[in-house]
Structures are given as C-alpha cells and as structure tokens.
C-alpha cells in the first residue's frame, strides 16, 4: 500500500471539546484540524491531559465534539445521533483499550464472536484469533489468560469485523516490553494485511517509529506533525 496515493478518510476541522463540571470548564480540545488517510498508521503522542483520548473518542463515534466538523467518508461524526453513531461503530470501527474490556463470562472465541455476530462481512473468530497468534487459546476464559493474551483477544475482537478504522488507546500501557512488542506486531500486521486505517495513542515515544505519521498534542491542540520516511519493525523498538 505504501507508495500508492492515499485518500483522506477522516477530516476534522476546528473541533473543540468542552467538558463542563459545574462552574469549571475544561477545554479538552481547542480547535483541532486533522486528516487521516486510508491505510495510514498514525501515532498520537502528548502529555497526560492533552486531549488524545478525547480526540480518539470523537473519531470513533463514542463522543461528539462541542464545535467543529468531523467526517469519516460520508459519515458526519459531529451530529449527536445515537443510532447513526452506533451504526458507524458497528460497521467501520474497531477499538482496543488499555484495560482490554473483555467480557469475563465469555471465552476468547466467544468474545471475538460477540463482535463477529453483528458485523456485515466478518472473518471467523478462529481466523481473527489466528491473526493475533492465539489459535491455541480459543476456549480459555479471560481469567485464564495473561494480560498480553487478553489484549490480543481484544485486538482480535476489534479486527474480526474487518474494520475500516482501528483505534487503540494505550494498547500496551499495561504490558511489559516483550508482550507489548507482540501486541504492536499484531497491530502492524493488521494494518499491513487488511489496509486498516490505524490510530494508536501511546506514552512511549519510541513506538512512534512504527508509524507513517506522528501527531503531537498539547493542551488540546495538534502542535507538531512528523512524517516517517520508513517505518520501523516492532522488534526494533526500544521500550
């Protein structure tokens, strides 16, 4: 995919997000303009509280901005329409979070099937778990899996629907270096094999080497943008 001209899929202009807590207003985003392209691997960096998660949630249709416009292809993500946003998440978005958020009462296979069952053209849960290297853990419950394994199940659950967008909020935040690399490898592989637009939030600046593009946020604004000529392999990343 590298080399081919990439079409913009996300287009956000002037998005602001204000949280009102009684008297106090917190401006989490203060006019962010940003574009993401098809198949791109983007890393978001920035200090705590800079608005990374807020931006990701807006892109994923979990939250709507207070002002500004944001579109994914022909979907308007700035309109607070629950049903439309649910539809969008269901058909196009895969999420991965720091704390896995697996359903404890379902096995690995069933957690993945949970997403597959409501998707339009999913792969089989076995395929998705194969992709993350967990073919031998299909019938384990979350309590019987390590943290890294749980996170890979969460990735499998995110990719089983063949999403157009994969959004990851600190996916390696709770993992050690070796496990973290394993997870990053899976993300890179999904991005490469499925051409999924991938946005990853991290506090580990060295992960930025994996990305096509790195955005740095500070105080609710994108303050710096860096294009990588060549992407590093996850194994090369220092932790």
């Amino acid at each position: 995919m590298t080399g081919a001209p990439r079409l913009p899929v996300f287009q956000a202009t002037g998005i602001t997000k204000v949280y009102r807590m009684g008297e106090v207003e917190v401006r989490a985003l203060r006019g962010v303009d940003v574009t993401f392209r098809e198949g791109e691997f983007v890393v978001l960096l920035g200090p705590s509280g800079s608005g990374k998660s807020t931006l990701l949630n807006v892109l994923g249709g979990l939250d709507v901005p207070t002002a500004g416009s944001v579109r994914w292809r022909d979907h308007d993500l700035a309109v607070p329409d629950e049903a439309l946003l649910t539809r969008y998440r269901r058909d196009h978005v895969g999420f991965v979070f720091q704390f896995y958020n697996l359903v404890p009462s379902l096995t690995a296979r069933e957690n993945v099937a949970l997403a597959a069952e409501i998707a339009r053209r999913p792969m089989t849960p076995e395929e998705a778990l194969g992709l993350v290297g967990l073919s031998d853990r299909l019938d384990h419950f979350p309590a019987q899996l390590s943290g890294g394994e749980q996170q890979r199940v969460a990735i499998a659950r995110a990719v089983v629907k063949r999403p157009d967008v994969l959004l990851c909020d600190e996916p390696t935040g709770a993992l050690d270096a070796a496990t973290g690399r394993l997870v990053l490898e899976v993300l890179a592989k999904v991005n490469r094999d499925l051409g999924t637009t991938t946005v990853v939030i991290t506090h580990n600046a060295s992960i930025a080497g994996m990305a096509d593009r790195v955005l740095l946020l500070r105080d609710g604004l994108v303050v710096q943008e860096q294009l990588n000529a060549a992407r590093k392999a996850p194994q090369e990343i220092a932790w």
């Binding site: 629950e82 978005v93 958020n101 359903v103 009462s105 069933e110």
Partner: protein, 787 residues
C-alpha cells in the same frame, strides 16, 4: 471525629441506593404491618372471647336430652370434677312478626330462670331479660335485621302451641355468638332468631314442667373433661338424647375459634413472604455494594478502621432500612389490627373488644424485621470484615467462569454470545438466581391464592345452586300437607312441574357423637333438586336409607353401612334408626337426605310434604307469584334466581376488594424482586455492557442481555410459582373449610394463567426500565474501568 465522616458516607450510600432501600423498607413495612395487624387482631379476638366467656360464664360441657327430671341436675352437680351445673329448656319453633308477614322465621328458644341464668348469661344491649310469663329477649342479629325494640310484640309457635310474647330486651350470649339455623349454611339474621323466654312459659309449652332438656356444666379446676363426660353420660343415659360434649363441638364456639385459628395461620404465612423477599433483596443489594466498595473498604482499613467498625457500618445501613420500614409497618399494622378486630367483633357481636397496643408483638415484629435484614446482609458484611486491606486496594481479578452444567450437556450450543452471557451469569451465582426465581414465584403463588377464592365460590355456586337445585321456585308450607296440596300447585297456570319436599328438624346421633341438623325427604328420582358431589357426579337417593354429606359423616364418624339414630325434634318427637346408604362429597352444609316415602313411613305418617320445588314457565312467573301469595297454606316462596343473585352479590363485593389488595401486594413483590434483580445484574454487567455498546451493539441488543437474565428467571419462576400456588391454595382451602363449607382447592388453567400473566406483565414493565439505564450508559467513562 471519624464517626461523622463514616456516617456521612452511610447517608450518601443510602441516598445512592434509595430505590433499593425504599424497596426493602416497603417490603419490610408490608411484612411488619401484616404481622402486627393479624397478630394483634388474633390476640384481641382471643382476649375478647376469653373475657366474654369468663364474664358471662360460658360452660365447659354441654348436653341435650329429651327429658330429664329436675333433681337430676343436682346429681350432675354432685359428680366429681363438676363445679357448677345449670339446667335449662331449649327448643326450636316458628316465629311470627307482624312486620315480617310471610317470612318463614325459625326461632331458637332458650329458657331464663326467674333471677336470670347463672351460666351462659345474657349480655343485654337494651332493655332487660324476661322475668315474667309472656316476656322475651331477642338476639341482637335478628333484632337489627327487623329493627325490633323493647315493647314490640311477636308470637312463637312451639310444640303446636302459640305463645304471644312482648319483647323486653335485646341481648347476646356466649353460646349464641354464631347463630345459625340447624341445617343452614350461612347465618341468616332475617330468618333465624334467638329468643330467651321465661322458664315457666317454655316449660308449659313443651310439656316439660319440672323437667329440663339442656344442661351446661362448669368443670372443677384440674378436672379431666373426658372422665367427666363419661360420668355425665352414665347419669343422663336414662333421660334419652346424645352424650355430653365439650366446647370443641359447640357450634358457636367452633366457628369463632376457627376464625381465630385462621387469623393465626395468616399471621404466619403472609408476613413471612414479605420479609423473606426483603431479606433476599437486602442480600442482593449489600453484596453488590460491598463488591463495588472493595477499594473503599481497603482504604478504610488501611487508615486504621477495624474490621468490626467497617462491618458495623454496612450492618447499620441495613438496620436503617429495616427499622424505617418497621416503623411505618407498625403504625399501619396497629391501625389495620384495630380495624380488623372491630370488624370481627361487630360480625360476631362480641360485647366488648379488648384491643391492646401489644408491646411484645410490636417488639417481636421489629426484631423479626431487623433479624431478617441482618441475615440477608450477613454474607456481605462478613466479606467486608474479612477483606485484607492490601488485597482490597488492588483491582479485583476478573471473575472466574466455567462452562456450567447446561453447557456440558450441550444445551447452549445454539445460543448467541449474549445468550451465553446470560446463561453463564446465572449459573455463576446459582443460589442467587434460585432465590430470585423463588421470590418471583411467590408473587405467582400469592396471585393464585387470591384468584382461587373466586374460582372456588364459582364452583360451589355452580354445583350447589345450579346443578343441584334446578327448580325455579321453592315453596314452604305453613304445616306439613298431603298430596292434594302438591296437586293444587301443579294445577296453577305456569307451573310446569312440582316435587314435594319433607324437611324434619332432627338431632342425629352415632355412638357418642351427635349433630343437630335437618333431615330432608325428596322424591328418589327428583329432577328439581339433586345431590351433586364436588366432581359433578349426581348421587341418587336410594328408596330407603340415608345419603349423608361427607361433612356430616365426618362429624358423626359414620360410614355407609352404619346406622344413625335420628331424634326428631318436632311433633311427637319419634326416634328413628336409619341406615346410611351412601355419602355425598358435597361442598355446603352437613345434612342428610332420604326418600320422602321412606321418611313418611318411618315417621308413621302419610305422604306429607313441608314444601315443594316448582319449575315455572318464565313467561308466567309474575302470575305464579301473585297466585302463590294469595294461597293461605303457603308460608313463603323463594326464587332460586334471587338467591343465586344475592349470594353472588355478597361474594363479589367481598372478592373485588380482596382481589385488588392481594393483586397489589403480589405485583409489589414481583416488581421488587424484578427491579432489584435487574438492577444488580445491570450494576455487575455495566462495564461489559458498555464494551458491547462501544463495539457497536445497539441499545436494544444490549438491553436484551439484562432482560434475558430477568426473563430466564421468569421462565423458571412461572412453573415453580404454579406448583407453590397449588400447595398454598390447598393449605388455605383446608384452613377456610369448616363444618358447613368445604372450600375446594380449585386451581384451574384460568387461575394459573391470570397469576402468570400478571407476574409476566409486571416483570416486563420493570424490565423496560432497563432501557433507560442502557440509554444513560457512559461509554467513554466506562473504558477506564479496570474490572
């Protein structure tokens, strides 16, 4: 001041849990109210009864004989174990009252000695007791029904003589609390009167001057009733009549005591259901609270709070809910008890109602409510007490799941993932799921109990008044009349058929048991009045011998093949020996029936009838009515349709309120159980449900998981409730049955469908609430949760 901070937390937690806390308080209030209400009513009635008996000297033993010479009473008094004896005269007659012209009124006549009786004394409502010949006191029920006051005139026909009497007082007595005409099923104050008359007057009328035929005995302290009964029976053998019996077989005592016994059963059953459900909800709410507050508990302990202080904190929260509910319940219960006891006292015409605040009952109710709530909280409080602080501060490990039994059987293979979440959620906490299902099934059972009374009375009415009595009109003659009277009736235009009936008042004896009732003679092939058993079978009347109701057979301990001695209490008062041919397992009354011809032959009289059943051409009903009214030999005529309508009206009036109240209570139970089960299922599932929403499940799809859990419980609860309901209905039916009614334990498809339908409706309504919870899910916030 650490305590204040912790107390503030307690108040905030309570506020946060206000709906659940209110549910617990409400259920506790219902439980305490029904408990205090029925126990205080029961105790008030018992005290009132005991006080009434003591003040008015209700005897311990009774006997009725045909004729005993006066001095025999003194010999009875001399028997060991007998403290006091009073002999008197008693008889049944017909009463005439000018303002009740045409009504057929039976009078129970009781003599009063010159200075007033020493035992079973009158309690005068107005006026005084009879002191001179020609004076009478009448029972309060009858006096009210006809608005009789001292000064009114009436006449009684007894033993073929007519006595003109002047009313001097209106009274009640312990022996006539439940006043009913022998052979009747319901008290009928308009057609049955208790009349106390001067001893000399009654003796003259009965040809019993210097003799007596009824006696009451008071036992000496410590005397054994059975031995005294045996001694009395030996002395009375020559006087003829049945043996002596205790209060337990005295009709009036028995009815009141039965009622008190039923109240006592009520006082145990209904409150237990409420308190049980409250206990369950407390256990749900508190385990959830302790689970979500793990970290807080750890923090409190790390700060230096002792385990006992922390446990006390949670126990205090529960005690608060229970005591709040208990306080409301006590107020309501005392009001309810006072009201109910008042209703009973009026119904039974008790001279005074001894309702007391009953501090021990109130204290017991509170203790029960508090104990039940703490029991419900025990598990969770124990966990809070035991939690090591270091562990509590770490996030809880993901709960462990294992494929359950259902899955090992392969029964869940076809379930979707949300379906599996439901099944595994339930099977992970089987006890809780079972208790929740049990709670829901209680609602189903309570509804069945409430509905069963309707079904039972309908069945009784159908069997007894529709299939049994098929005449349009029942006519009573002024005196027994021959075939010509029946032929005259048959000749009236509009009369389609006539069947004669001979009713004879009797005391039936078998062994040492006796029972005063009516003996009825009918045509063996009668079509207008039949004996119909509970199952709808028609029991034919044999050409000779008796058919007795199952109740009567039980009271006399007689079976087909046995012989009953029937002592006729009118006319020449013959004593007949009648073989029992069959029993009829019917619902109402304790009577005996035989062929009219055989009865006439036994009585040594011609083919006489005391009344007749008529089939009428409906188009000419008015005409028949007018002609009957003009016939001098006809005392009264009762239209069956009117009887059915009035019985129905009374029952319907009672049922409607009763059903509404029980329906409300049961719906409350169902709603409480469902709400709390759903709420807890929700709270535990909130993180994973928001994950589902994040990955694209719609609100409806997410809601179905919560709803699925509740509906799964419902699926178990409905059949379980149906079975519990049947058992409960049997118990209630048995408790409500007495000598005269046998209440069938009717649980038809309709009753079950109603109970299941209403429970399902309430469940669905509450489950719909969960849609709002789903809509309010905080998708973004939930992603940071570590559990």
């Amino acid at each position: 001041m650490k305590v204040r901070a912790l107390d503030r937390k307690l108040l905030r937690d309570l506020w946060h849990l206000r709906v659940q806390a209110a549910a617990v308080a409400l259920l506790t209030a219902c439980g305490v109210a029904t408990f205090v209400g029925s126990v205080t009513t029961w105790r008030a009635l018992q005290r009132s009864q005991a006080g009434y008996y003591a003040d008015h000297r209700f005897p311990d033993l009774f006997a009725e004989v045909r004729r005993a010479p006066g001095p025999l009473a003194a010999r009875l008094a001399a028997l060991p174990g007998v403290a006091e004896v009073e002999a008197r005269l008693g008889a049944y007659g017909t009463l005439e009252l000018e303002r009740a012209a045409g009504a057929s009124i039976t009078a129970r006549l009781i003599s009063q000695p010159p200075g007033g009786s020493r035992l079973d004394r009158l309690h005068l409502r107005t006026g005084r007791g009879p002191a001179r010949p020609g004076e009478a006191a009448v029972g309060e029920g009858f006096a009210r029904a006809w608005r009789i006051a001292p000064g009114d005139a009436l006449a009684v026909l007894v033993n073929g003589r007519r006595e003109q009497l002047t009313v001097v007082g209106v009274a009640v007595s312990p022996g006539t609390i439940y006043a009913i005409r022998p052979g009747d099923i319901f008290p009928d104050d308009r057609h049955f009167a208790v009349v106390w008359v001067d001893e000399a007057t009654l003796a003259a009328a009965l040809d019993l001057t210097g003799a007596w035929n009824e006696v009451g005995l008071v036992l000496a302290p410590g005397a054994g009733a059975p031995e005294v009964v045996a001694r009395v029976d030996r002395l009375l053998a020559a006087a003829g009549g049945g043996g002596a019996y205790g209060r337990d077989r005295h009709v009036s005592h028995r009815f009141l005591t039965d009622e008190i016994r039923q109240l006592k059963a009520m006082a145990a059953v209904i409150p237990s259901i409420f308190i049980g459900v409250a206990t369950f909800i407390v256990s749900l709410v508190l385990s959830r609270l302790v689970a979500t507050q793990r970290a807080q508990i750890g923090m409190l302990k790390a700060l230096g709070w002792s385990g006992a202080q922390v446990a006390g904190h949670y126990a205090g929260m529960v005690a608060g809910m229970a005591l709040a509910g208990g306080a409301v319940g006590i107020g309501g219960g005392l009001a309810m008890g006072q009201w109910m006891a008042g209703v009973y006292a009026r119904y039974y015409r008790l001279p005074e109602l001894r309702f007391e605040g009953d501090l021990p009952v109130v204290a017991l109710a509170l203790a029960l409510a508090l104990g039940a709530a703490l029991l419900g909280a025990a598990g969770a409080v124990w966990r809070a007490l035991e939690l090591p602080p270091a562990e509590a501060m770490r996030p809880a490990a993901p709960p462990t799941y294992r494929p359950g039994l259902l899955e090992r059987l392969g029964l869940t293979r076809w379930l979707s993932q949300p379906g599996r979440m439901v099944v595994r959620g339930l099977s992970r906490r089987p006890l809780r799921a079972a208790l929740a299902a049990l709670g829901l099934s209680m609602a189903v059972a309570v509804l069945q109990i409430s509905d069963f009374t309707e079904g039972a009375t309908s069945l009784i009415l159908r069997r007894e008044l529709e299939e049994g009595q098929r005449h349009d009109l029942s006519v009573t003659f002024t005196q027994p009349r021959g075939p010509a009277a029946l032929a005259e009736l048959r000749a009236l235009p509009g009369v389609l058929a006539v069947e004669g009936v001979r009713d004879v008042p009797v005391v039936l004896h078998h062994g040492h048991r006796s029972y005063r009732t009516g003996l009825r003679g009918v045509e063996p092939g009668a079509r207008l009045g039949r004996l119909v058993a509970a199952d709808g079978q028609v029991v034919p009347v044999p050409p000779s011998g008796l058919v007795v109701s199952r109740q009567l057979a039980g009271l006399l301990a007689v079976e087909p093949g046995g012989v009953i001695t029937a002592e006729v209490t009118e006319g020449r008062r013959p004593v007949l020996a009648l073989p029992v041919e069959a029993t009829v397992d019917d619902f109402l009354g304790a009577g005996a029936t035989m062929a009219r011809a055989a009865l006439s032959a036994s009585l040594g009289e011609g083919p006489l009838a005391t009344g007749a059943w008529l089939a009428i051409d409906p188009a000419r009903a008015g005409e028949v009515r007018a002609r009957l009214a003009a016939r001098p030999g006809v005392l009264g005529a009762t239209w069956r349709a009117a009887t059915v309508a009035s019985v129905r009206a009374i029952l319907d009036e009672l049922m409607v309120t009763y059903m509404a109240v029980i329906g409300l209570l049961a719906s409350g139970i169902a709603a409480g159980v469902v709400y709390n089960t759903a709420r807890i299922a929700w709270a535990e599932r909130e993180p994973e449900l928001s994950t589902l929403r994040v990955i694209g499940f719609t609100r409806g799809e997410t809601w179905r998981i919560v709803a699925g859990e509740v509906l799964a419980l419902l699926v178990v609860a409905l059949p379980l409730g149906a079975v519990l309901g049947v058992l409960a209905v049997r118990g209630v039916a048995a408790a409500m049955s007495n000598d005269l009614f046998r209440i069938p334990a009717v649980v038809g498809r309709g009753e079950v469908a109603y109970a299941a339908g209403l429970t399902t409706a309430v469940t669905l309504a509450v489950t719909l609430l969960a849609l709002r919870w789903v809509a309010r899910l905080d998708l973004v916030g939930s992603l940071d949760r570590r559990d």
